[in-house]
């Protein structure tokens, strides 16, 4: 298993290289280069002399391969880059938003998993009933409602109409600031989770081993918790892994609505400033997160289902 994990992580290297190449090409194609950092967005003008000096200093006029090669060389030396204008290294910029990103992502994941799996199991056990239909309609709403709308609705209800939580911000890390963005994000992910859990449960609930368990006289709660659910959970685990990767890569809309200082906004701002190094840094981070989460999920499969072996 350990060898499997190491091999999978080693495979991350070509994946990350590919990601840097694709990002470099995309940033090369979109109009405007790093000199846009010298433009006041409200005014829009760029002093040609400043632009010339910046291009010269940053080597922006060099051919694509030269620029990319230089970037790779720096990465191999562990240097993700430094923003001259914001006076911050790419590493520091990402590390600064990491705690807020992780807090929001993990809390939202817990909320979506708790809600999603509960509704999924509950409706699967009552298949065809009114409650099942109602549950599926609710989850359909969860999947379809735009995050910004849900966020603003919750903000209006729980921060303005009944002022229970602060409408926006991070405060000094108080939980009250986390509630609204985490619930918004969690609920928007819960719908998909509920529907997948329901279908996975329906697959296993009529399986022979479940019938055998019932025949042995096991109680319904034990049948569900010990026999059905562990087998139904494997596809759900995959979804949790994908969701975690997605959540850690930044929930731009939720971060924008609630002014949450996460990595999603950091990257969008970097794209708008054409800050190639910071965009690359964020994308590399996302790549690393996705690869690690997938390896983690694969390893958890082995723990949940002893039949799965990697050696």
């Amino acid at each position: 298993m350990l060898r499997y994990a190491v091999r999978r992580l080693a495979l991350a290297v070509p994946v990350l290289l590919g990601i840097t190449a694709i990002t470099f090409v995309l940033m090369w194609i979109i109009p405007g280069d790093a000199t846009q950092a010298f433009v006041d967005p409200k005014v829009g003008t760029l002093d040609p002399e400043v632009a010339r000096a910046a291009r010269e200093r940053w080597g922006l006029d060099a051919p694509f391969l030269v620029q990319y090669g230089k970037y790779l060389g720096n990465i191999l030396r562990g240097d993700l880059g430094y923003s001259h204008v914001t006076n911050q290294s790419v590493r520091d910029a990402i590390l600064e938003v990491l705690p807020a990103t992780a807090r929001l992502a993990l809390t939202a994941l817990v909320i979506s998993t708790l809600f999603g799996m509960s509704i999924g199991v509950f409706t699967a056990l009552r298949r065809g009933s009114y409650l099942d239909t109602a549950g599926m309609v609710v989850t359909l709403f969860g999947v379809s409602i735009p995050t910004f709308w849900l966020g603003l609705l919750l903000m209006w209800l729980l921060a303005v109409h009944w002022p229970l939580f602060p409408p926006t911000g991070y405060g000094h890390g108080e939980v009250s600031y986390l509630v609204l963005p985490a619930v918004t994000l969690g609920l928007s992910y819960a719908g998909g989770m509920a529907r997948l859990t329901r279908s996975a449960m329906l697959d296993v609930i009529n399986a022979d081993y479940v019938r055998t368990a019932r025949a042995k006289g096991a109680g319904e709660r034990s049948v569900i918790a010990r026999h059905a659910l562990p087998n139904a959970v494997i596809p759900v685990l995959t979804l949790i892994g994908i969701d975690l990767g997605g959540l850690m890569s930044g929930a731009v809309i939720t971060e924008t609505v609630f002014s949450w200082p996460g990595i999603g906004r950091l990257m969008v701002d970097a794209i708008q400033q054409r800050n190639l190094l910071l965009v690359q840094g964020c994308v590399l981070f996302f790549g690393l997160i996705f690869v690690s989460v997938n390896v983690g999920v694969d390893l958890v499969y082995g723990l949940v289902d002893p039949r799965i072996r990697y050696d």
Binding site: I30, K42, L46, P48, V50, A53, A159, P163, T168, T256
Partner: protein
């Protein structure tokens, strides 16, 4: 003698007198109860003031990088310069320099600094600090976006090309006197120095901190830096030894703390205003009418025409296109009903533009009438230009909500006279890059953000600025260039204004732009906020040193 009915007349007079007295008394009480910007109340010290306006993170707290609203509005509370802009009139007024003079040939400016002005670390601000910082800005190694601002100062070129140790044209005559010599007469120098980039910085601290100065700033302004959490908030605290006093002789500033919060979503800003977590906020187009009709906030709006002119620009570097003919551009100008656009599309949150210069700008011609809405005349001009059936063209703009609905309305107006526009909506950076690079046929956008009428015209229409510098249309008229150059060298303000107005009339006739609207900047305040002022150039640049809170806000 009793005059028949005399008693009645006397009674009538008495009654009218009493009514007038009561009316005056009631008005006086009412006026006293609703103080206009705190003029009739005694300022109260203390309190924490929270502003929302950070649309994005400030770049840096070092004035080398004073660029963009978020950076400038925060830095202007930490730093002071030689001179600054008067928020109401947009004219240059003293700051640390209590006065300045220029030589008869208009080339040499001498600034006389106040004595006893101190940095937040307690050291005194001297002329040498300004020279040091100006050389930091001009030094190409520092790559400041303002490095070209001092072009024209004697010795800058030699300094930038490393042929000189310092800028010869910036001389420290004594501890409190700074002299700047220009290669050519330039009336604009004091105006240029009003930028936050030209603030005083303490040499010792900058040299000790190096790059870290950008996150640990020390200035001489009303507020001292306390903390900055990127993506969240920036906190400043009162500098107790600030040099300025209010008109009653009280020490400024009044506030204990000033917090700039980064709230990105405008609906969320409304929520924060409603619950009282924010004390003042810039408001968006979509929120304007809600605040205008709000029972409380409608009395606490601060509206000002800002110095941004929204317009349609024609790409004049293209040949063989219909708009290469001046009459076609004039036709577009006549085809658009600006008043309806302001009233209906912008719902009153803009002003009808008649000329390029907003009439509230110092020196602008308030009688300028511009182009009137006359679709018949537009059609006639198109026929004269040889386009009786109109033509098809492409227009681009950013996806800003201030411009998209306006362009959509314009598509209809132009279609009515036969001009069929294909509309390309782009993200703001791509639209800006396309404008800068001249990759457009027509664009809709704004230009401005400067308070001086000459610079306003220079950046948009002088051929020297053709390209990304602001003259996106690549407009070139030697007569206009000459007038603007002469205005820059004019010895007196009246001559400068006369030359600029003449240039504006020629430009309006040439019509490289079809002017549309001027921005209306609106700030909403909590009822207890006092001391904010209308800032013509841009309402974001509020002078917070005179702001105070009439009572302590309840936050949630």
């Amino acid at each position: 003698m009793l005059w028949p009915g005399g008693l009645n007349v006397r009674h009538a007079v008495t009654n009218r007198f009493v009514i007038w007295m009561v009316a005056i008394l009631v008005s006086a009480i009412a006026l006293g109860a609703i103080p206009a910007n705190g003029q009739s109340e005694k300022p109260r010290y203390g309190g924490v003031y929270i502003r929302n306006n950070l649309y994005s993170d400030p770049l840096s707290m070092d004035p080398l990088f004073a660029l963009g609203a978020a950076t400038v509005m925060t830095q202007m509370n930490i730093y002071d310069g030689l001179v600054k802009l008067d928020p109401d009139r947009g004219t240059v007024v003293p700051d640390i320099a209590e006065r300045w003079t220029h030589s008869p040939d208009g080339k040499t400016f001498t600034f006389y600094l106040r004595k006893g002005v101190t940095f937040h670390d307690g050291s005194e601000v001297t002329a040498a600090d300004f020279k040091y910082h100006f050389e930091r800005v001009a030094n190409t190694a520092n790559l400041s976006p303002h490095m070209a601002r001092l072009a024209g100062v004697v010795g800058v070129k030699a300094f930038q090309e490393k042929r000189a140790e310092d800028i010869a044209g910036i001389k420290v005559l004594d501890k409190y006197t700074l002299q700047i010599s220009m290669e050519r007469p330039n009336i604009l120098l004091p105006y240029h120095l009003t930028g936050v980039w030209a603030s005083a910085v303490p040499r010792g601290v900058v040299e000790r901190l190096g790059r870290e100065f950008g996150t640990n700033p020390v200035g001489s302004g009303p507020f001292m830096f306390e903390s900055w959490a990127r993506g969240r908030e920036l906190v400043l605290k009162r500098y107790p030894h600030y040099w300025r006093k209010d008109k009653w002789g009280n020490q400024l500033p009044y506030l204990d703390r000033l917090i700039f919060r980064l709230i990105r979503d405008m609906t969320a800003v409304e929520a924060e205003m409603t619950v009282g977590n924010v004390d003042s906020a810039w408001i968006s187009d979509s929120a304007y009418l809600r605040y205008k009709n709000h029972p409380v906030f409608k009395k606490h709006l601060l509206e000002a025409p800002e110095f941004y002119t929204w317009h349609i620009g024609f790409n004049l570097s293209m040949s063989g296109v219909p708009w290469a003919d001046k009459r076609v551009r004039q036709a577009v100008n006549h085809a658009i009903d600006r008043k309806t656009i302001v009233d209906v599309v912008r719902q009153g949150k803009a002003y009808v533009a008649r000329g390029i210069l907003p009439p509230s700008m110092f020196g602008a011609d308030p009688t300028f009438t511009g182009y009137v809405y006359n679709p018949e005349k537009a059609k006639r001009l198109l026929v004269e230009a040889g386009y009786p059936n109109g033509f098809t063209a492409k227009i681009l703009s950013s996806d800003s909500q201030s411009v998209v609905p306006v362009v959509e309305a314009i598509l209809g107006y132009l279609n009515a006279v036969g001009i069929r526009l294909q509309y390309e909506v782009l993200d703001s950076v791509t639209a800006r890059v396309r404008q800068q690079g001249g990759r457009f046929e027509l664009y809709a956008g704004s230009l401005g953000g400067v308070g001086h009428l000459l610079i306003y015209l220079q950046q948009g229409f002088h051929s020297r600025f053709a390209g990304p510098g602001g003259n996106y249309t690549r407009y070139s008229n030697p007569r206009v260039d000459q007038l603007l150059d002469r205005a820059a060298e004019a010895r007196d303000t009246n001559t400068m204004i006369r030359l600029v107005r003449e240039a504006e009339r020629i430009i309006m006739d040439d019509a490289p732009w079809s002017v549309l609207t001027y921005t209306k900047g609106v700030v909403v305040m909590q009822p207890y906020v006092r001391g904010l002022r209308r800032v013509q150039i841009d309402q974001d640049f509020q002078v917070m040193e005179e702001a105070w809170l009439a009572w302590s806000p309840r936050r949630r």
